[in-house]
Structure formats: structure tokens, C-alpha cells
């Protein structure tokens, strides 16, 4: 039966991402085969290229802004009209040879530089959260599925509890009351704390099925220790699900970080992040639409590329397992 697959570990309202399927515990699909398939798919290739550009932007941000001439925090009072509330001079939000993507109203900061540096924040936070939720989800899922009994009971109740929680409200509430400290780290921790149960639930279910399979029984009968069982027999068989679940969760985390910054509890000023930029652009949308269009487009394309890619990877893995 096709029950609604596990939801991606994300906040419904902030960002809704496609569902992972119901990957069974078939033989693992090789990474080479996945990449090979993706390379032949035009849409997937396009997404990969775009993501590559974003990642390169993030990595080489200081070099790129040296070329473009403006740092992310540099003010340019000459680019804005103080008498009109600080709206950028010129059309299209002040796009010019000087400022490639125009400038931010009220201070004249260069939008191109802020997009480039914002990519750093978005990607670092999303990837760190993915890694952390991945580890938490796999470890707790395995523990619950393998040991069952009270371990399973305890872990499952915690998962129920976390999933019943109005995560978005709670994340904002926690983030707004915590001292500023190291915001990115806090964001990763908070996002992961509410994200891991979605992966853990799938891992738990599959571990339970796998633990009863003949090959595990056989290994156990031949005297393999629990640790060895988990790492040699079960974990490799979960690879497909882990890859699918985690790739599908990355766009969710990008959206969540942007959403939290949008709601004003993300990175602290003057740090640029796409969500923070969109947030500042809200009151300006009718006067300076480019101010939201530019970060909005980058955010949208990044999430879209990751979603399409995740979807393709899933179908490749599903197809691999079906055969």
C-alpha cells in the first residue's frame, strides 16, 4: 500500500518539498550509476549547473566581490535618494555598471555582493543542518529499529512529541529569546532538533524489516556482534533511503533558513542572507520591486534545482531497486 511517504523534515509553511517514496531495502544503487543517469537528463544537468554556480559563488565570494568592486557591507550613499526615503537612483533598483544587481534602498549596499555572500550563509546552514539531521536521524532510527523494546518506545515517543510540536512557532520563539551568540550555529541546531524525526522514522521502519531478513538472521547465527550487524549488514542497505531523504531535505533547509531570516530571527546584521534580504524588501515591493525580485529569484531557483535533482535521484534509485 502506498501510504503517504515520510514528509521531508521541514516546516510546512516555510517550504514544502516533494515526498520521498517508500524505498524498500533492496540492493544499494551505486553512486556511479546515479551520476551517469543524471548526466543524461537535461533538466537535471541544468539544475546541477545552476547549483554549481551558486556553490562557486559562495566559495569564492571575496574574490568575486573584489572583481565587482563593492563589498557586501559597504554603503553607497550616492546611489540612493535621501529625499525620497532612500530609494535607489535610476531605474530597476539602481542596476548599473557600478552595481550589477542594483543597490539596497536606504543604504546603497551592493545587491550583487550581498547575493554572493548570502549564498554562503544559505548553503553553509542548509548543508550543516542536513549533516546533523542525517546523523541524528540515522543513529536514532537504527537504535529504535534494531533494539526495539523500551529503546524504541522512548525514541518513538520523543519523535511523536517533536512532530506534534508547532515547529515554526517554536523555532522562532526560541531563536528570538536566545542571546544573539553564534546565530548560524543556533540556526543549524534548532532546525536539526525538529528535523531528525522525519528521517529517523523511515530508518526505524526499514531497520525493523531488515533485521528480520534472512541475511541478517544468517549473520547473527554465525555469531556476528550487534555492532557488526548494524554496520555491515543493515546500514549499507539503508543507503538508498538515506540519500533520497537527505537530498530531498536540503531545499527544505534552505527554505527554512530563509524563512527564519525572513521572520527576523535568522542571521544578525550586517550579515547578508537571502531570507534577510527578502525580509527587508517587503516594505519596498511597490517602489523598488527589484529589491525582492533578485534574492527571490535566487532563492527560488536554488530550491527548485535541489528539488528537481532530489526527485531525479529518487526515481533513479527507485528504478534501480525495482529491477
Amino acid at each position: 500500500m502506498t501510504v503517504a511517504g515520510p514528509r521531508t523534515p521541514t516546516l510546512l509553511e516555510v517550504e514544502e518539498v516533494g515526498l520521498a517514496g517508500d524505498p524498500g531495502g533492496g540492493p544499494p544503487t551505486s553512486t556511479g550509476r546515479i551520476l551517469g543517469k543524471l548526466a543524461r537528463d537535461k533538466a537535471a544537468l541544468l539544475c546541477l549547473v545552476f547549483l554549481l554556480i551558486v556553490v562557486l559563488m559562495a566559495v569564492f565570494a571575496p574574490l568575486i566581490t573584489k572583481l565587482s568592486g563593492w563589498g557586501p557591507d559597504e554603503f553607497d550613499s550616492g546611489a540612493i535618494n535621501s529625499d525620497l526615503g532612500g530609494v535607489p537612483h535610476g531605474s530597476l533598483g539602481g542596476i548599473s555598471g557600478e552595481h550589477w544587481f542594483g543597490v539596497e534602498p536606504q543604504n546603497g549596499r551592493d545587491l550583487f555582493a550581498r547575493i554572493v555572500y548570502g549564498a554562503r550563509v544559505s548553503i553553509t546552514i542548509a548543508l550543516s543542518a542536513t549533516v546533523l539531521t542525517g546523523i541524528l536521524g540515522v543513529v536514532f532510527g537504527l537504535l529504535a529499529g534494531f533494539y526495539r523494546g523500551w529503546v524504541d518506545q522512548a525514541i518513538s515517543r520523543v519523535m511523536d512529541f517533536l512532530m506534534a510540536f508547532p515547529a515554526l512557532i517554536f523555532m522562532i520563539a526560541i531563536l528570538s529569546s536566545l542571546p544573539a551568540g553564534n546565530r548560524p550555529v543556533l540556526l543549524v541546531v534548532v532546525i536539526s532538533a525538529f528535523g531528525w524525526p522525519y528521517l529517523a522514522r523511515v530508518i526505524r521502519g526499514q531497520t525493523m524489516t531488515l533485521a528480520n531478513r534472512e541475511f541478517v538472521e544468517a549473520a547473527r547465527a554465525s555469531g556476528a556482534k550487534n555492532v557488526a550487524l548494524v554496520f555491515r549488514e543493515i546500514l549499507p542497505n539503508l543507503r538508498g533511503s538515506i540519500i533520497v531523504m537527505t537530498t530531498l531535505s536540503v531545499p527544505g533547509y534552505i527554505g527554512t533558513e530563509a524563512g527564519l531570516s525572513f521572520l527576523g530571527v535568522g542571521v544578525t546584521p550586517p550579515t547578508a542572507s537571502w531570507g534577510q534580504m527578502i525580509s527587508s524588501s517587503v516594505s519596498w515591493y511597490s517602489v523598488d520591486p527589484m529589491f525582492f525580485a533578485i534574492p527571490g529569484t535566487f532563492l527560488f531557483l536554488t530550491v527548485l534545482s535541489l528539488t528537481v535533482l532530489g526527485d531525479k535521484i529518487r526515481s533513479v534509485i527507485d528504478a534501480g531497486e525495482a529491477t
Binding site: 557591507d73 559597504e74 554603503f75 550613499s77 540612493i80 535618494n81 535621501s82 529625499d83 525620497l84 526615503g85 532612500g86 530609494v87 534602498p105 536606504q106 543604504n107 546603497g108 528570538s176 529569546s177 544573539a180 527576523g264 544578525t268 546584521p269 550586517p270 527587508s280 517587503v282 516594505s283 519596498w284 511597490s286 517602489v287 523598488d288
Partner: protein, 560 residues
Amino acid sequence: MLAGLVLSGTLVLSACSGNAAGGESQTSAGPGGPAAQGGTVQVLANAAFSHLDPVRGFDGGVNNFYRLIYRTLTTQGAAPGTEGTKIGPDLATDTGTPSDGGKTWTFTLKDGLFFETGAPITSADVKFGVSRAWDPEIGIGSPYAKQLIDAPASYQGPYKSGDLPTIATPDAKTIVFHLKKPFADFGSVVAQNTFVPVPKGAGAGTELDSKPIASGPYKVSEYKAGASLKLVRNDKWDAKTDPVRKAKPDGFQWTFDLDGATIDERMIAGQGTDVDAIAGTIQAATVARVQTPQLKQRTLTGLGGCTTYMGLNTTKKPLNDVRVRQAINFAVNKQTVRDAVGGSTLAELATSIQPPTVLGRVDYDPYPSPEGKGDVAAAQKLLTEAGLTNGFTFTLDTRAQPKMQAMAVAIQQALKPLKIDVKINIIDTSTYYEVIGTPSQQHDAAITGWCPDWPSGATFLPPLFDGRNIVAKGNSNLAQLNDPAVNAKIDEISQIKDVNAANAAYGELDKQIMALAPVVPLLYEKVLTLVGSNIAGAYLHDGYSGGIDLVSVGLTDAGK
């Protein structure tokens, strides 16, 4: 008083207020034209009133609103500019008669005064209302009654301690106050909200916060906390007893909790009942949209009467060095700070501590730079003298609010060339003033503001810079400046009997303090408000943080 937290400015005298709709447009239609009798004025508001209980509420917004439903012994005028801040009689027949060298003050009530209930307003009701200010749970508003009027140390308001013996009511029309020490301007003090009459025995707990007992021209007919408030005529109010309140419309309708953007959109569109609407200052992003002649005709602008500044904690290294503080004063680019709040239409660059609306204020610039953009060279020179060529790091406290954060970022950016690394510390809005007002918790610097409650520097400079006022909690001397010369000067000025001479002396003291650079004056923020096309009789009142004077506003065509 702290700007933003509480905006009172009850008695701000103002010499400078550029009302777009001044006297010359009285005859034509538009916001300055004459208001017709009748209709309902709509008010679109961001936040609800802090309190409807007059002893609790104390900021520019409620003070303005209270005049519609409450009366006090005296009150401010109802006109643009300095006329508006002149004190005149309200419930009382005059502005009071001093005796005993200004230590005892006697007021006589007019005839024909009634509460909305129909009960006559007596001197006992005024006394009862004032005595509520001593209740520790209720008296959280204007502190002046408690500070000036003599009372037993243990007195805790009428509900807990009963009658206050130091206020005498020899008959139903006469009330006599005995002060702790002579106070020449007590006639202005009794215009404070705390002097609103409350029927004897009523108003315990939060009763008045939900159901005020009106003495003014309007009464509350429906109040949904946090959502809406409806005022209708109080037919027990007699216009003949009240020369101040024009009270032309038949009612007022507040809608609270509206988004700033929503309000601006609705005011620009001006559809339906919004033609009869007034609102607060527009957002920075809206400035560019109100430049058409049609919309310009509907705008009112003027100074808010406060100073926004950055306090520098003189007890912290290296800010304890006056050269470092002066360097920061030179280096801050006030243009970018102003752009952060919305540019030249929403603020003027500040140079002195006292804003232009304070009498006796001297216009001077101790740390000049071209167009206020900062003089990095002058700053660098001072820092080199102080041995800080390689800069330093300091923490700047700011509120978790986009505008305040933007100002902090502008300052951070301006100090970068001096290798001064500003760490921005964002503090939650609800506890901001609590944190920076606690010397053990405040950091090196903080962005805040101050508005005068009094017609002179007396309510501006001593609270902020008297070194003997530094307290462990609720401290307003953020710089923690304790300079013997400044303290001595403050004492000297308080002895001056002539108000104008005292004001002039405060203007000089402003200069003396700025030589020590304990603060960086940043901006004098302005009010820029858009009113509906059917609004008439509207002007900005200098005594209410530049809000539209509610007792005079009305509609051009009441039948619309």
C-alpha cells in the same frame, strides 16, 4: 523621558514646526480647512493604547487621546506651534493660585462639570483621581504628582491606604495641594494625566483600563482590547465650560493592530471610510509614493520633538578617554544614519543634545563635518593622540527592530575606516530599556532617544547627565557621566527663578556637556503623516510628539 518606550513631551514648547497645513490654508478644503459639525473620524493605528486608565498611561499617543475623554485641572492649548503648548485652565477656573512661597497651590473648579454618568465633578473626585498615582500597581504613569506633592511615606493609594491627608478639599469646588518644596510651574503639572477626576471609590484594579469614566466631550462606547475602540459623544459634557476642545465630529473609531504597510496602502488609496481617516508617520518606503501633488496636499509634517542619540559609556575602556569619544563624534556619518530611518523627509541631522523644539536651545555643531558625513581625518588625529592608531572593539546595544538595527549598521560602517570594530548586540524590544538602564548590564554604547516632558532643558539635561542620578536600575544617564563641573552647573541652573534665563543656561550647559562627548547626537526625527481627503482641522501638536491634535480634527463634509 525615553523616546520610543514612552513618548510624553507633555509640555514641549516649540518654536519650530513646519506644518504643511498652517493658518494660511484655513479657508480652503484640505487637512487645514475648517471642520464641520458631525461625522466620525477614523484612526488607523499600528499599536493599541498602552492604557485607558489615565494614571497608568503616559506617552505622546495616549496623552493626546486622553484629552478626548478626560479633562484635567489645566491643559495645553489646541493650536499649531507654540500656541499649542501654552497651558490654560480646563476644569479649573485659572492656572492656580500659589501661596506659602509656591509651596501651596489652590485651584477652583468651574460650574457645570459632569461625568458621563451625570454625576457632578467635585474637588473630591479630582483628589481621588490624583491619589491613585500613589498605588504601586496603578500609578505607573506620569511620576510628577508623586515627586512634587507631599504625602506620607507609607501612602499606597486610596484603595489600600484610604484618604490622602495632604490634599485638602475645603468644599466641593476647591482643591488645595501641599508640595514638598516650592515649585513655580505647578500650574503646568496639573495638566498631567494623573490629575483626571475619578468618581470617589471607582477605578480599582484594571476597571478604568476597560471602561473609562469620561469627563471630556467623548465617552467609550465599545472597546475591543487590541482590536478597536469607538468613541461617541458624551452628552453630559458642556462645550460652554471648555474653551479648548472643539470636538466637531460626533465620534471617533480606532482600528488597532494594523501593519505599517497596510496603513500606508489604505491611506494612499483613500477608499471608503478611509477618506475620513488619520494615521501615524508613514514608512520610509512610502515617502517616494507621496510625492504627487494630490497626495502632498494630504500630508502633514513637523518635528517629533525628541533627540535620537548614541550614549557612550564613559566608564568603559577606551571610551573613558574623552578624545576617543570625540573621535567617534567626528567619525559618525549622520547622513547614513538618517538614510537608515528614511532620509531627509523623516529626520534632521542632530548636532546638539537638545532638539530644536526645546526653548533656549542653541544651534551649534561641536564636531562638524561636511554635510554631516563624518570627518575621518579629525577622528584619526584624536585616536592617534589617544594611542589607538590600530583601533579597538566596542559593543553597541540596539533594539531588535529593523530601523534601530539599520542605524547600528550605519554607525558600524562609519567607524570601520578607523579600525574601530563595532559589535552589534541586539536586545529584545520589550527589555531593551531595562537592560541598558541597568549599569551592570549595559555595554559600551547604546542607541536610544529622549523627549522632554517639560517646557525646558530641565527635563532633558539633568536626567541624562547628572552624575548623582546614576542608579542601579532604571538609569537614564547611559553615559554614566559624573562630571563635577556639569553637576555644579545643574545645581546652579535649578536655582534660577526666571524660566527664560534658566532655558538659556541649559542651552549653554548643552555645549559644556558636548565638549565631554558623552553621547553622539544622531537625529531629530520628524513626523510625516498622510490624512484622508475629507479630513479637516488637522495640525500636528507639538505637545504630543507631533501627533495630530485630536480635539481639533474633524471632517470637511460630515455627511459623506
